[in-house]
Amino acid sequence: MIIFEEELKKFSRSLEIADTEDAVYSEDLTDMMSIFINLANDYDETPVDVNVDADDE
């Protein structure tokens, strides 16, 4: 059974043309690669030693 009011809440306003620039700048560009590289760079000059399971390969 669909509850109209609940379904209506799922709809959000569309971004308009004028909002494009703000939307580009506010885009969350965080990705796993960045996190990984940051973590690796936190270590000393020694290469990152990550324990990887056999399944991962």
Binding site: I2, L15, D31
Partner: protein, 470 residues
Amino acid sequence: MECYNCGFPLSELGYCTSCGADVRKYKKIMYTANRLYNDGLDRASVRDLSGAIKSLRGALRCNKNHVDARNLLGLIYYEMGEAVAAFVEWVISKNIRPEKNLADEYINMVQSDKGRLDTIGATLKKFNVALDLCNQGERSYDLAVIQLKKVLSLNPKYVKARKLLALLYLHKGDYDKALKGLEACRDIDCGDVDTLRYLQEAELAVYGGDPAGGKKRKEKKPQPAAVAFSNGNETIIQPVGHKEVSGLTTLLQIGMGIIVGALVTYFLIVPGREAAVRAQGNEQQALLSEQLDAKNADITDMNARIRELEQTIADQRSELEGYTGANGVLIYNDHLQAAASAYLDESQGEMAVEQYLGMIPESYLETASPEFCELYAQLKAEIGDSVADSYYDAGLEAYRQQDYTVAINSLEKAYMYDPDNDDALYYLGVCYYDSGNVSTAAEKFNDLLAHFPDSAQAEKARQRLEEIGE
């Protein structure tokens, strides 16, 4: 694939052969991103756009620099009507890879068409208005429906608007319309969970709890093409729905066809042809009217020109008449020339010269050339004495014969040629007196007394004047 630490190309080994960095996790993340991108591509190819969006978002969560995943994500957003979300992905993609990027083509494609960009902007604004109306409550739902219909007329593939409209139809209990809209929505994106839920609800309402059954009711049972039955040893196969056509029916059908054809010709073709012929006639009439007007204008000009030329001819004729007519210059020249010829011809005598000169009026001498006047005066002087005597003699002879008219004429000329001839003047007065013209006679006698007071004729003139009473 390159090492995240030194940029050296990686091998199949779990570490970088250049810097020795452990790249196993790095490779795993990259492989995951690629796998998710491939999954998104597969889903998009079967129009599971929602699923494709999730996969591509996952790929970008692993590797934000995955340009292909970002471009495809933008394309899917654009397909679903989310143009601004598409632009965002394409712009970021272009920043990641400025050259040789498909996103550049997409952006140019949209931006080059100003009309399309305006339509996109209007679509998004109208959807937001419709959503605001929905949030205002039950009373605004009808307005929201109208607004959403406008949105879909501008962009029929705007999934979110189509879903919202279907939801409103469901709420109003208009399940047929909701079903139709949701089916269109499913054709665009078959993987959207909300669409499928709404669709299920609509089908439940329309088909009475058995969506599949409802569909079946609408499907027609296939009928056999022919029915076979046995009649004794023979098997007869009769086509279903085939009826024997009788001759009368055929004739009726042909007759109906002819009638229909005639009616179509009469009501559709003939008026069209008549209108075309009428239009053509009107065009020709307009053309002929223009030509007629032009000709009339030409004729008017020609008539004016003719009148002008006729006037010119008349002027020239009158001018020519002034030279060649009875009183023309040329005729006077001819008279003078004839007088000169007569003077040179001794056989003609001075009287002939005088006759020609007499045909030239004194008034003409005022306008004549100096040469003409000089020759005229010279001829007159040459013949003056002789002519005066001749006129005097002729005048006296006429006086004796009491022909006073001739006498007066001759004596006038005699006195004109010889103004010293007092006898001519005296007899001129006598002729006037005897002819009854007493006043003129008195003038002549007075002239005689004035010019020749001591002459022999002066005494006679006085006596005559006394007789007259002056």
